[in-house]
Amino acid sequence: MDRDVIISARHLKKVFGSGESEQVIYSDFDIDIYKGDFTVIMGASGAGKSTLMYSLSGMDKPDAGTITFCGKEITGMNSDELAVFRRRNCGFVFQQIYLIDKMSLLDNVITAGSLTSRNKADIVKRANELFDMVNIPDVTRRKLPSLISGGEAQRAGIVRAAINQPTAIFADEPTGALNSNNSDAVLDVFSKLNENGQSIIMVTHDKKSALRGNRVVYIRDGEICGDCGLGKYTSEDSARTEKLESFLKDMGW
């Protein structure tokens, strides 16, 4: 079955530093990301997972190669063009969450929403629907980030990422700073969004998080050394778990 490619990267190269301290993160790297997938990128620390994800999302620029996002080449865009591009096409969820501290959760979300729509009522309505979906009650939505738990903050971060109905949500270790209960709640939200057709690209070290994806890409030394299809996520599916464990074992995890 032909699947729609939303992001296509070809011959990507990313280098940090120069001269003796030069470190090639990846070189001649190719990858396709498909619409509706929950793509999980795994790999050891320093493998270049986050760097790759931020290149694919237009947050960072590769040193060489091309990235085509929804048919549009983004590698030639300047920073402001990329910012405008990201508004509509990318949502971000960060490990450190990065909510704006002087704004309520609702305002954090509306701020992002206001970039693509002038209809405030529509933005507020959609924000509230998303808050309902992630189980953040009305009272909490009006609190400042410093006054809520990490799990609530990260769920609010997901709402912010989803508010503009982006082509893809990029999540960088979204459960990295959360306890087990909060992690599950956050991952449930991702699963729910993916069920509704939202494409998600997530970088993680966590096997439990990786299980939520339908595709796991393993990166080592700047190359894809494994690409595993897991199928649709269900909460009680031991076969998927075994498949992932076996894949990761093969990858030397």
Binding site: M59, C90, Y98, K102
Partner: protein
């Protein structure tokens, strides 16, 4: 500890440099004002002593100065020395004074006359002293534009007298026109050419030196009575205090203005230092927690914040104090134009001590107070970024419920995020607006409505002044009436009062004049009434008697009002032509003409050609020249004030913007990640300061309606004008407020450019 201080200095290098520059500007202004305050008077006194200047001088007609008078004056109580000079006196119409004509009471002296008192010194000269020529005071040379080697021309009694300007002379009696007299020193040849000329009054000038402990005013009064008793009219009677006041008047005003300016900048600097320290504590709370955790005490951490300010402030102040000495000679030169004497300001330890000491101490006190918050920080809370003494904050302008577009509410959110920043911005804008509003209103009243300025400084400003004689006066009046030109009988004569002589304005009807200089009571309407100058306000009240003497005839007048006169330091009076006739036994044959649209030059020519006049002067031209002179001076001052204001705004906004960008770095990173462009964030940041800036400017502008008249009243009262005619145009204030806001915004946009360099990705890398 030293390492921590160096670390703090390096970390906010740019902001410290800005703060240092603001301190430097403050020091330049304050030290300049203090050096002028401490040295102008001293320099005046030094030159006064060096030239053995008399404490009192009286000029009388030479014909009435009998042989024994000098000895009689010497025998008066309180008088230690008397010297007598001969001179020629004339009311001389000086030509090409700044391109126009000015009539001045002029004493022509012989340069070679031996003098034991009120000596002079030639400060510059062209050619030999034996040629026919004149040595003029610095005042005429600089203000009138007469240069050595050029010519100085007078019209006296309808005849022209022209002298080669041989050089510039310093003397401390008639060196500027603030006293109502000016002194010119002629070579023997030049003096000889006019000595017997009937257009000049031969006078004897008696110069009196008083005892060290004598009351100069009392001696002057005694002297006035003495010569009056002998039926001798005093053409001029001056004391050193009055002369000193008139010659240091502008310097005193500038000192006052600069000191207030320095104070305003200092207030802003204190706000700036407080703001910066509070911000540093917020930004570096985690770091401070770590330092406290590893054993640094609160006192050490406070020192690490305060000492850099102390170092930068001290460096800025020392540099500014030193820099002021490069500026002071130019300022002293400008003052010399008005004061008529020049001096070179030298290093003043007292001024430097006050400038550096007082500002440094003030800044340290306020920075220590601001850094006091560090004391309350617990290590663990600081590491967590919590200050328990500060409230958690509020979600201001919630986007879902606030009216207006989200973009506007985002700006308002940012605007309301820091009360410290807002207070600082408000204070800066408010203070700068005071300076700009002052400048704007000054420019308006000098350039757009010059009459407001000129009528404040001067007495009546007609278009033409015409002098006739008894024989032709009626015919002249008929001619003028037939031309439909408004004419008012007006003139000035010198008369004596109890303490000396004063100019007395004589007018047929003061109600017909166009410049009302009466600030209390009314102008005289009847022969027995007199309005007196502000200098008499202390000793006379309305209804009191005031005696005037002219050519030996005296009469008592009743004071009906008070008038102002900058040129005469308030030593002036006015009576009706009837009142004048009672002591002079004659009437004035001079008129003020108001030509209303006629070409004054050609109309003055027509009057000259009529044969009915003795002297016709184009007063409108004089006024225009005077306006042009003040206009250029004030435009330069305004431009300087504007540049300084913009510089201060630039430096202060630099600190504010840098602080904002540093503290909002994460916000900018997040915003860029979710799709905000650099341009949007720059506009948002600048937009967040705009409401406060606009508010500061507008509030200051509105209050300007009240404080500006008080400021101008204060300044003009120092120079002797109790009532100023300045308009405070609301439009000028509004335009100035908008210009100030625009300047702030433009500078803000430029200073926000580093936002462009903040990338969304750097947030993640740093996180």
């Amino acid at each position: 500890m030293g390492g921590l201080i160096r670390h703090n200095l390096k970390k906010a290098k740019g902001q410290f440099i800005s703060f240092g520059l603001v301190m430097m500007i403050t020091a330049v202004i304050l030290n300049t004002s203090l050096v002028l305050l401490f040295q102008t008077g001293k320099a005046y006194d030094r030159l006064f002593d060096e030239l053995d200047t008399a404490d009192i001088s009286v000029s009388v007609p030479a014909a009435l100065a009998y042989d024994g008078l000098e000895n009689e004056l010497e025998d008066m109580s309180g008088v230690s020395d008397v010297s007598r000079n001969s001179a020629l006196f004339a009311s001389a119409a000086l030509q090409e004074f700044q391109g126009s004509e000015f009539t001045m009471n002029t004493c022509f002296y012989r340069l070679s006359d031996e003098r034991s008192l009120t000596k002079h010194k030639v400060s510059s000269q062209a050619g030999g002293a034996d040629d026919a020529g004149a040595y003029i005071p610095l005042y005429l040379s600089e203000l009138g534009g007469y240069r050595s080697g050029g010519r100085i021309r007078y019209i006296i009694g309808g005849e022209e007298y022209s002298f080669v300007v041989k050089g510039v002379i310093s003397e401390m009696q008639y060196g500027n026109y603030g006293t109502g007299f000016i002194g010119i020193y002629l070579t023997d040849k030049a003096y000889g050419s006019i000595a017997e000329d009937g257009n000049f009054t031969q006078i004897s000038e008696y110069l009196l030196k008083t005892d060290r402990d004598a009351d100069v005013t009392a001696v002057k009064k005694m002297l006035a009575e003495h010569i009056k008793e002998r039926g001798i009219p005093a053409l001029a009677l001056l004391d050193c205090e009055t002369t000193r006041k008139s010659r240091t008047m502008v310097s005193d005003t500038i000192v006052l203005f600069l000191a207030v300016f320095a104070l305003l900048v200092l207030i802003v600097s204190i706000f700036l230092a407080r703001f910066r320290i509070k911000n540093a504590i917020d930004e570096e709370m985690n770091e401070m927690g770590v330092f406290k955790g590893i054993g640094f005490t609160s006192r050490q951490l406070m020192c690490s914040q305060v000492v850099p300010y102390g170092i930068v402030c001290a460096a800025g102040l020392v540099l500014g104090t030193a820099l002021s000495y490069t500026l002071l000679p130019s300022v002293a030169d400008i003052l010399a134009v008005q004061s008529g004497f020049s001096y070179v300001p030298v290093f003043d330890i007292r001024a430097a001590g006050i400038t550096i000491g007082s500002i440094l101490l003030t800044v340290l006190v306020f920075t220590v107070l601001a850094a006091g918050r560090i004391k309350g920080l617990e290590a663990i809370n600081a590491v967590r970024g919590i200050d328990p003494h500060r409230p958690a904050g509020k979600n201001r302008f919630p986007l879902d419920s606030s009216k207006g577009p989200a973009g506007l509410n985002l700006i308002l959110k940012q605007a309301s995020a820091s009360s410290g920043r807002n207070v600082l911005l408000f204070a800066v804008t408010f203070v700068m607006m005071i300076l700009l509003a002052f400048t704007g209103v000054l420019l308006f009243n000098v350039n757009i409505r010059p009459d407001n300025f000129l009528t404040t400084l001067s007495e009546e400003l007609p278009d033409i002044r015409v002098q006739s004689d008894e024989e032709h006066f009626e015919e002249l009046k008929e001619l003028i009436a037939s031309d439909g030109v408004k004419a008012v009988g007006y003139g000035t004569v010198m008369a004596e009062y109890s303490d000396g002589s004063i100019p007395v304005i004589v007018c047929e009807d003061f109600a017909k004049l166009e410049n009302d200089i009466c600030y209390e009571g009314s102008h005289p309407k009847r022969g027995e009434e007199i309005a007196v100058g502000s200098a008499f306000a202390e000793n006379y009240s309305i209804g009191d008697s005031f005696r005037l003497t002219l050519n030996g005839t005296s009469r008592e007048y009743r004071v009906c009002g008070f008038i102002q006169s900058v040129n005469n330091n308030g030593l002036i009076a006015e009576v009706t032509d009837g009142g004048y006739g009672e002591i002079s036994g004659k009437q004035l044959y001079s008129l003020n003409l108001y030509t209303e649209g006629l070409d004054t030059d050609s109309y003055a020519g027509r009057l000259r050609d009529s044969g009915y006049t003795e002297n016709v002067s184009n007063a409108a031209k004089e006024t225009k020249a005077m306006q042009a002179m003040y206009s250029s001076l004030i435009t330069v001052v305004a431009a300087l004030l504007f540049i300084i204001t913009v510089l201060i705004i630039l430096l202060i906004l630099y600190v504010i913007m840098r602080s904002m960008i540093t503290s909002l770095k994460t916000y900018f990173g997040i915003s860029k990640a979710i799709g905000f462009t650099s341009r949007q964030l720059i506009m948002q940041t600048v937009g967040s300061i705009a409401p406060v800036v606009l508010m500061g400017a507008v509030v200051s502008a509105v209050l300007g309606i009240f404080y500006l008249p008080a400021m101008f009243d204060g300044i003009f009262s120092v120079i002797g004008a109790q009532k100023n005619n300045f308009e405070i145009p609301v439009t000028v204030l509004i335009v100035t407020a908008l210009v100030l806001t625009a300047v702030n915004i433009i500078i803000g946009v430029l200073l926000c450019r580093p936002i462009k360099k903040i990338t969304a990705y750097s947030l993640i890398k740093e996180g």
